[in-house]
Amino acid sequence: MTLAPRQQLLHGWGRAVPTGASVVSTEDGSLDRAISNPPERGLLARGLGRSYGDAAQNAGGTVLDMTGRSSIHAVEAATGVIDADAGLSLDALMRRVVPLGWFPRVTPGTRHVTLGGALAANVHGKNHHLDGAWAAGVRSFVLVTPPPAPDVPASSTEVTRESDPDAFWATVGGMGLTGVVTRASLQLDPIPSAWLDVETQRATNLEDAIERMRQLDRDHRYTVAWIDCLARGRRLGRAVLTGADWAKPEQLPARFRNDPLAFDPTVVGSVPHKLTARVVTRPLVRAFNAAWYANATRQEGRQLQSISSFFHPLDAVDGWNRLYGRRGFLQYQFVVPLGAEDTLEAIIGETAHGATGSFLSVLKRFGPGDAGHLSFPMPGWTLTLDIPVGANGLRTMLARFDRMVADAGGRVYLAKDAALSPDLLSSMYPRLSEWRRIRDRLDPGRHMRSDLDRRLDLVGRSIR
């Protein structure tokens, strides 16, 4: 059975810039057919739509809904190697492998991403300083590329770091523009339990936070800091920091010790679809941040947390992105190199004094980057800002931030991006032209397209 493509309005997690596309379900043979016959406005694979901006949209073209292909083909319980379809969610993967004592090498802040999406964005997590980004856990993947000429079938290749390093590293972090990843093999890491031994600290300002972060990174596998982006003056950059490691079964309370690997996270609430007003307003943001900071006094010291409450706290609220109302929001995430703490401080300061503040701001120190041509992480400080669309002066503020980040030698994360100044792309991603050459080899007809590509000219169409 073939499902007819349907015209659909697609948006990213930020819901800010919806565009229309023809969505093809890929449960059946329609995937190969769609890739073999790319339409004029091109093709793009889409997973669970968790990239915040327009990376998983293809206005007027074809979007391949990969979520229907989600089989796990093999789990080697002895070695922790899995082979699964790219449409598999991390949530489904974890429900399968956590009880066996395995965990993905990297998890982003939500389980609701697909293996393909995680690979295309080369996502990172709280252990980046030690374990690197998503690529670190990828053994191989199957890449299907559109035919260079009509009536030639699409080609399907298994890619490893060794078989074709260019294709491997151009695809990891390549934002889906090198072809369609249909399947991946991952190396998982062993875990002793489904619980984390979490240390919480408070930092009174940014300098304190940075110092504590350095120390936490030495002591723990997983670290992150939440920054109060409304605190000003002497308290600018005050933070709640957490560092964590996997808890051993004997650390667990008696009632969990029987089944230390039990994993069944639930959703505690849901934001109604009908909500069109913006709930996230400046007073609420202020109250929330103050409460979070105050609450951390009670948690200071050590406690046990579940996988979901430590790694994926927002997954407990279904559709939390709708809290930003009809016009949506954007997440501005950047990294600046170690030593560029001034830029970090300047941006936090400007956000604190800006019209909107940021509901959630997360600071993390990255370890070494990897060989991905468009990989986001570099050794340095990364900060996320969640900002409602429509705020006064937002356009000029973000343009200023872009410039500051570029001047500091940093970059903006493409998987989150919805507003980058296009002229700064190549200075933020200095290996862009190298990536473009490899991308053109993999997809010479330039059939892979996305709105992100159109907006920033990632593929380099304007420079034939």
């Binding site: 309005l9 800010a16 810039v17 919806p18 406005r41 007027g60 073209g61 949506g328 954007l330 356009r395």
Partner: protein
């Protein structure tokens, strides 16, 4: 491609000599990072000053020829503009003819001209543009209507009726575009000081083209279908339909 903070790349002005159209385009170039502008007018040679003024703002500008009344060519023209230049983020349909009410009442060819420019030609063009935007899955068509469209009056019902036609047509196109990613916006200014109204006594609450442009710019960030360019115009749009014909007949314009 638009971004989340309203930057855009390419704008098409249909009616390249329109003062209001140029004010809108120049504002979008200055404030929204537009890199490429296409001006279309009957006589592209007449656009030299317009082109250089937009170029001085940093945009790449092209002038191309088209005639609103040449309806047979509209679809081909629109296809060519989109294919040659790439995606259009905003298309502004600003070409129009105020005409002379008294002349239109005497000379059928003058009457026909106003109706053909403002309604028939504009509607066919707007349809062709909307179809392309729908295929593109994104982009906005801005149709310049008028407060005159709200209620045609004795003093200017030829112009008023032609604008009422394109106004209603535009709202229909807006509904046709829902769910496609494309969008159609109908803009109703009041009296605007421009070449078109040169020599006419200004009506109350008259605006400059720049003020109209500011209102359109702001409306692009909303999801409104009908946009009045000032509070006074919005109020007039509410009041006019309530007036009895005996009063409408006596309104000077």
């Amino acid at each position: 491609m638009n971004d989340a903070v309203g930057h855009m790349q390419r704008v098409l002005l249909l009616g390249g000599n329109s003062d209001i159209g140029n004010a809108i385009v120049s504002r979008l170039v200055r404030r929204r990072g537009v890199q490429h502008v296409i001006l279309a007018a009957r006589d592209p040679a007449s656009l030299i000053d317009r082109v250089s003024s937009l170029e001085s703002l940093g945009a790449k500008v092209e002038a191309t020829s088209f005639d609103l009344t040449n309806c047979d060519e509209h679809a081909t023209f629109v296809d060519r503009v989109f294919s040659d230049n790439g995606d259009i983020d905003v298309a502004i349909l600003a070409g129009g003819l105020l005409g002379d009410q008294a002349e239109s009442e005497i000379a059928p060819d003058r009457l026909q001209q106003v109706l053909e420019v403002n309604f028939v030609g504009s509607a066919l063009l707007a349809m062709a543009v909307t179809k392309r935007l729908k295929e593109q899955g994104s982009g906005t068509l801005v149709i310049m209507s008028s407060i005159a469209a709200v209620q045609a009056r004795r003093a200017n019902f030829v112009y008023g009726a032609s604008k009422a036609g394109i106004d209603a047509f535009g709202r229909g196109l807006a509904d046709m575009a829902v769910g496609s990613g494309a969008r159609v916006m109908v803009v109703r200014p009041g009296f605007v000081h421009s070449q078109m109204t040169d020599g006419l006594a200004p009506a109350p609450f008259a605006q400059d083209p720049d003020e109209v442009a500011e209102a359109v710019d702001a409306a692009l960030d909303s999801d409104r279908t009908v946009v009045h360019t000032s509070g006074a115009v919005a109020a007039m749009a509410r009041i006019l339909p309530l007036l009895p014909r005996s009063i409408l007949r006596r309104l000077p314009r």
